[in-house]
């Protein structure tokens, strides 16, 4: 009950202190911290990739294909004799780019539409919500798959497709939040004194929507990696020779009985990265927005 009270009375300034309190709570959450460490490791790997692996991760060396882990190649080599470790290090860049790109598409398209839909209501809202209905009638993965088929394979189209498949989620989320704030006293008051819509949206509404967006974004980064991996597995995601974890796992599965390391390590990498985002997202939600049920 108490938490509900906080939410009702929360005004923009309150949300800042809530953020601070929440972060303190986040750091006490061991699982969230573990998730944060996973993601930090993942970020560092992605940024320092050229330092960590100086060679070219895409240059084949057929004479050394499918070698088991050794000192020279700690995680072995793949079917074209490339170091799996090297490809995984560079793969972290690709996966990170994908997840950031996807979330950006989702945010840039979904948040404004959700704000408009919730704030203005009426016909705009009706039309947008019917379109959202239609898009939500498909499981996200199927939607992403269909979009990739239309746009064509490749990293950019993978990002756009998965991104679009996430847009309706953001629209719904933001619209719901806006609806709950729109009728609040301070918003009514701002409107009454003739504040411009854009300003109201920016100053009063957006801050209140921030928390669920942050949580959804963290979870969405994880989902993006999983979706990209699934598309890569079906062979219609990121294309070779770009090292992407899902595509590595997808092509590695052909060797699963003989050289299981080719598929195993990218599988573990995907699992850990997604786990990291989920742990962090969960922690953020518990800390910042305990009532939400994403």
């Amino acid at each position: 009950m108490q938490e509900q009270g906080v939410q009702v009375t929360s005004i923009p300034r309150g949300s800042e202190s809530r953020l601070r309190k929440g972060l303190a709570k986040l750091f006490r959450n061991r699982m969230a911290v573990f998730g944060g460490i996973l993601i930090l490791g993942y970020l560092v790997t992605a940024i320092l990739a050229p330092v960590l692996y100086p060679g070219n991760p895409s240059a084949p060396n057929l004479m050394r294909s499918l070698e088991r882990p050794s000192l020279e190649h700690p995680l072995g080599t793949d079917e074209l004799g490339r170091s799996i470790l090297g490809r995984m290090i560079y793969g972290s860049r690709v996966s990170l780019m994908i997840s950031i790109g996807v979330v950006c598409v989702g945010l840039l398209v979904g948040v404004p539409l959700g704000l408009v839909s919730g704030y203005y209501g009426g016909k705009v809202d009706f039309v947008l919500q019917r379109i959202t209905d239609m898009l939500l009638a498909f499981p996200g993965f199927l939607l992403a798959l269909a979009l990739v088929a239309i746009l064509g394979v490749g990293i950019n189209n993978t990002v756009i497709s998965i991104g679009i498949s996430m847009v309706p989620i953001y629209i719904r989320l933001v619209r719901g939040c806006v609806l709950s704030v729109r009728e609040q006293v301070y918003v009514e008051a701002a409107r009454a004194v003739g504040t411009r819509d854009l300003k109201i949206l920016k100053r009063h509404i957006l801050p209140n929507v921030m928390v669920p967006i942050i949580v959804q974004t963290s979870l969405g980064m994880g989902t993006a990696i999983l979706f990209a991996a699934g598309l890569g597995f079906l062979g219609i995601g990121v294309q070779p020779p770009t090292p992407e974890w899902g595509a590595m796992l997808g092509s590695g599965r052909g060797y699963i009985f003989n050289s299981p390391h080719v598929a195993t390590f990218p599988g573990i990498a995907i699992f850990l990265a997604v786990l990291g985002f989920n742990l962090l997202g969960d922690g953020l939600r518990d800390a910042l927005d305990p009532r939400s049920k994403i």
Partner: protein, 515 residues
Amino acid sequence: MKSSNRWMILIAAVILAWMIPLGTTQAQIKNLNIGIGIDADTLNPQEQTTTLIQNICDLIFDTFFFVKPDGKLEPRLATEYKTSPDGLTWTLKLRQGVKFSDGTPLDAKAVKLSFDRALDPKLKVPLRFAITMVQECLVVDEHTIQLKLKYPFAPLDQTLAMTLVAPISPAAIQKYGEDVRQHPVGAGPYLLKEWVKGDRIVLVRNDSYWGPKPTVEQLTFKVVPEVATREAMLRAGQLDICYKPSPANVAALKAEPAVKVEMPLSTRTIFMALRGDRPLMKEKLVRQAFNYAVDKKAIVKKILFDTAEPMDGTVSPILFGYAKMEPQYDYNPEKAKELLKQAKWDSNQVVKIGSPQGRYLFDTQVAEAIQAQLQAVGVKTELRVMDWPTYMSTVYKPLEQSEFDMVLLGWGPLIMDADMALYGQFTTAVYPPKGLGSAFYSNPKYDEIMEKSRLEQDPAKRKELLIQASKIIWEDCPWLWLHVEKFVIAYSSKIQGMVVTPTEKFYPQYVKMGK
């Protein structure tokens, strides 16, 4: 006493001797489970596009002739043929007393009906090009037909072994119309019992089959799209036969005592078409340099795990008309660099390479290896990979719309004759958009020899012409000659007597089960 004892022993010995073969090999096999990668779209033999489904159709329909594992023909529904001196009339004797599985007699009229349908331009027959030389089919008597040709075509006997011309029961066509594709009725050793879409196709023995009675009562083709799962099911004993396991696991499967692997050379060649209409590929020296720059042996060994052989001629060695060519384009990066220098290759130009994904064995990996090896001799490249439908609509686009300079493709002649490869890929008659000449190659001298070969009736002379034509393109290099695929099939080592043919087909109807 003694003599009666001796008698007893003798009788026992006879009984035992009679029983032993029964004990070691089971005469009757109830069911074989066969794992395949795709479900059939249609079981009408005339509508086929894939070898696998044609293989299933063969079991239901039977063909006029049968291609044996050694590549020779065996008479089946037809017993003999005669060719007129001008090569324009083929007379075919049909086997007497054969009935379709629904009891309709297989006579000349039935055969004519099937031929008429295959030639009917209003019906969908994707492989019709293989019989375009046939003008019409005439009924001579109850068991004899005549095929009138538009032009002489020496390998027509091979063509008559194709699933495409397998006779369909006229009664079934009458009853089902075009839906005969769902209700196939033929004269083969099996009939369709059940077809559960996306899951399995079940065939049962046709007891009225004209030939030897199959030892296997039922064949269940299970659709298992994921190759790793298919292999897992074979290892777990859920499948008796696994169609095309992954080459990567062939060695491991071979090492498994419970599994036997066969992989005869197929007719399909894999190549990079070097598009003659593209400015970058115009120069013969460049095309030759590319051939020297790529290590085909390493590709075959390391990427394809020896489930292919490097091409040493223009077609698969098992085809009529094949000859090993000289000189061989053995891996020689230095020579490649030299040739590029001679051709004044500008190393700033970027060669655009296209590859499908999942269409041929490890296609993208092969393309990646080629890309790297070209880069090693100083050729800048860019590789784009597409799914098959997108790729197909891109590959044959004319010069100004095309994005590729070289494309990875495969070409598998349906008959054991080099004509379908040499004529069907390199003559001006198939220059796109008229045909599917992937290299956009046109050479009047070559055309002349190929046209002449089609008119030649004497096999030895025809072979000489095909080799002559091969020499021209081997020198000209419209393709980057890569490899000839092998047809891999793995099955339980209990199975004995499996028939696997060079046309990428397998026939399990007469197998025996050992212990």
